[in-house]
Symmetry: C2
Subunit: 220 residues, 2 copies
Amino acid sequence: MTSSTVEDYLKCIYLIQTRSTDPISTGLIASQLKVAPGTATAMMKTLSESGLITYEPYRGVRLTQAGSKLAAHVLRRHRVIELFLVEVMGLNWSDVHSEAELLEHAVSELVLDRMDEMLGRPSVDPHGDPIPSPRGVLREKEYPSLISCPLGGLLKVVRVTDQSANFLRLLERHGIMPGKEVEIASREDAADSVIVRSSSGKALHLGFRPAASILVEPGE
Amino acid sequence: MTSSTVEDYLKCIYLIQTRSTDPISTGLIASQLKVAPGTATAMMKTLSESGLITYEPYRGVRLTQAGSKLAAHVLRRHRVIELFLVEVMGLNWSDVHSEAELLEHAVSELVLDRMDEMLGRPSVDPHGDPIPSPRGVLREKEYPSLISCPLGGLLKVVRVTDQSANFLRLLERHGIMPGKEVEIASREDAADSVIVRSSSGKALHLGFRPAASILVEPGE
DNA sequence: TACCAAATTTTGACATGTCAAAATATTACA
DNA sequence: TGTAATATTTTGACATGTCAAAATTTGGTA
Ligand SMILES: [Mn+2]
Ligand SMILES: [Mn+2]
Ligand SMILES: [Mn+2]
Ligand SMILES: [Mn+2]
């Protein structure tokens, strides 16, 4: 029914909509999906005619109920698959995103439910990203990041929002992953620098951009 | 690189080629893949230009080395995935064919190898179909079927070539699956009838067509 | 308020797969 | 050996996604 292309557009819009409620520009969608601006515009017309988004030319788009539900299901598949690849198949958390990007369009509801069951109905994926419920509800918790959390004391890593494979591998080498504990050794605005100490003992030097993508739970 | 459409065409040709060596008509390919005759002809030109088949108009096609290798890999993926779905995910053998038909185009070499490893490098899929090696070699064993095997004595089911879901479910209800033992209670050419007794005790009445799709190993 | 730079949409083109129906080739048989 | 039934190919059309480049709109600035 809905092509994998349409699914990717919907998922993209959904993810952007997660972070703010104003209408989303076609240009942003185009850059996220790495297509030409005109390509995104053309697709917005298609989605609009299918009742999956509302589209006001030059103003932007919003998902409808129907579009939102569909997108949430695609995202659910994506994240369950990622976790399955890590937990059951033993893949590295840095590799699963690109695998899931394809598999999310090929896995049936039956297979997805079996994965979900084998994983014990999990609520977050290997990166700490929340998994939409089978009914399509996404519960985004608010967490501080390494640049917004209070200094001093142990922090539990709960989520890493920068999914680039190289970055994830770097973090893994330093033992920085959801569930692990870290401590901020120093943080200096002017120097755009955060130094994190992980339980591995090693200190990791990060700029503010990457540091902001590591979300933590302040010490219990 | 190669689209899932091309992969399905190659796999189709490959499967037909395992049963006879003469050139394969575009009409047969079209009917197998449920596309219009002209559609298959158009694709034959594409495949031919890509060097994946040799094509003589009105005569038929043959896979080249390159095409054969590609097709064997698609078939390998298909069969490993089927077995994974049955053994690891707990799906029924009647459901996995259609699932694998999609997944075979979405699973990476990395994930496939993990599946293969978890399954202990298997040589046959849930239907007893042989799995091509990682290098693309397919070893088809010759087995007699319920209409060609000798009468009397126990027979071990080794393969079921009719993959229709309803038929497979019927067989399962009667305990007829690869690895199980059966016995031919009666076989009558003129009546187009084979009566099989399985270890479940129940007798199953089959016509010659379905009976021919059940391959067996004569009692040791 | 008029203009300009940036963003967006439109246009024209192309690639891939598909079909229905017309044209053509093959083959069986009369 | 000629013809007719059958299979195959060709033709013209369409659906989906994509791009480059031209045209248009928007919103800020002079
Ligand atoms: Mn995707
Ligand atoms: Mn993730
Ligand atoms: Mn397929
Ligand atoms: Mn099979």
